[in-house]
Symmetry: C2
Subunit: 252 residues, 2 copies
Amino acid sequence: MASRGSGRQPKYQRIADELKAAIEAGEYGPGDRLPGENELMARHEVARMTARQALGVLQAEGLAEARKGAGVFVREFRPVRRRGVQRLSAGTWREGRSLWETDTAGRELAVEGVSVTEEEPPEDVAGTLRLDGGAPACVRRRRFVLDGRPVLAATSYLDAALVAGTAITEADTGPGGTYARLDEIGRAPVRFREEVRSRMPTAGETEQLGLAAGTPVVLVRRTAFTDDGRAVEVNDMVLDASAYVLEYDIEA
Amino acid sequence: MASRGSGRQPKYQRIADELKAAIEAGEYGPGDRLPGENELMARHEVARMTARQALGVLQAEGLAEARKGAGVFVREFRPVRRRGVQRLSAGTWREGRSLWETDTAGRELAVEGVSVTEEEPPEDVAGTLRLDGGAPACVRRRRFVLDGRPVLAATSYLDAALVAGTAITEADTGPGGTYARLDEIGRAPVRFREEVRSRMPTAGETEQLGLAAGTPVVLVRRTAFTDDGRAVEVNDMVLDASAYVLEYDIEA
């Protein structure tokens, strides 16, 4: 989704970009058939291989799928049903499963662009984590790509001194992820709070999540608490609103 | 919020509409001082009383507030912190409190436009409530106005045969509301599911909630279940996304 100079890019890429723009503008909706190779050849005066490559880009990015003998179609994206309660049960991470597996069973999930840094966190996060006097946080950033489509960007903050030496400071946190590692150092979360908001995306969020025009983002801030009531992680998530249903079960 | 012909309305109303448009466009942000009476008199060539009436409209609608000796300011709206778990505890309605009281303590809340009808519900709602063969639902519609600003529109569906003869079919459901009345007929909810989505509003929702441009809506569908696992109510809520933070507490 990086921006490119328009003059320098190969022809197939320009055709792919045009098709993507048409999909984003709603000219082709979910399940619609895209123009075939013959049509693209005539319309853009290119060779069959170029037309084929253009359609290949969209398939590689998960925006379209080929159906044998019928053509290439705009993918129908099923929203993720994110089960707020079940996914956070201690059973999930103690068994070495990721929270994501509970949401996306049978679908193709990639975690991209993982970065782990030490930074001074935003003031409100520092307050929640009780990081005083500019004490650094371990900051984990990553993006989740489902069926080829980026759907969520997450930034987690933890006390850098607390998690030093654990796999939380590495790109791969290992089976069960951050919560399993916190459990191993005696700081397992026992309670979570999720705060949910929605607004229109910033330009950066639109770029990062490849959002179609007119698509809001859902912001979820999850704070994980240990049994002494201390906040041990703050995770700021930005969700493509068109890709998600958030589900919460509540006892009366 | 009804649209009006521009020629027929009184001068103070036209000036108020201009000020409202400027607030919605962000020319005056939350906490900003609006033009005073003298300025409006000069700008619009009107009498002091007309300028005062125009500012009065904005105050009456909750968009602005007068501060003694300092002028009239755009109201700073605090988002509602909607506590998904605490508000739904049986204690709330058994004690005769409304769910809303737990969110909006100390603020001015009005429920407007209550309508109660019998209708065939949408197909998915009928399925959830197990209303077969066109059996009617009791449909309760209302709008919540907080500090003078509409923030939420709700439509509840219940089995009309089940709730016949209870106050659920009346505009005022009485202390503790619908759930307290269900309790009285032995159908108290013991579990709730909330499904949260977000999208840009329809024209009707923009009108109904008086949404500023570029403001998404949050859609919350709450389903209430009795102890035999039957769904007893489906409540479709449309929230002004700029007015809400939804909070959910979750045990690990």
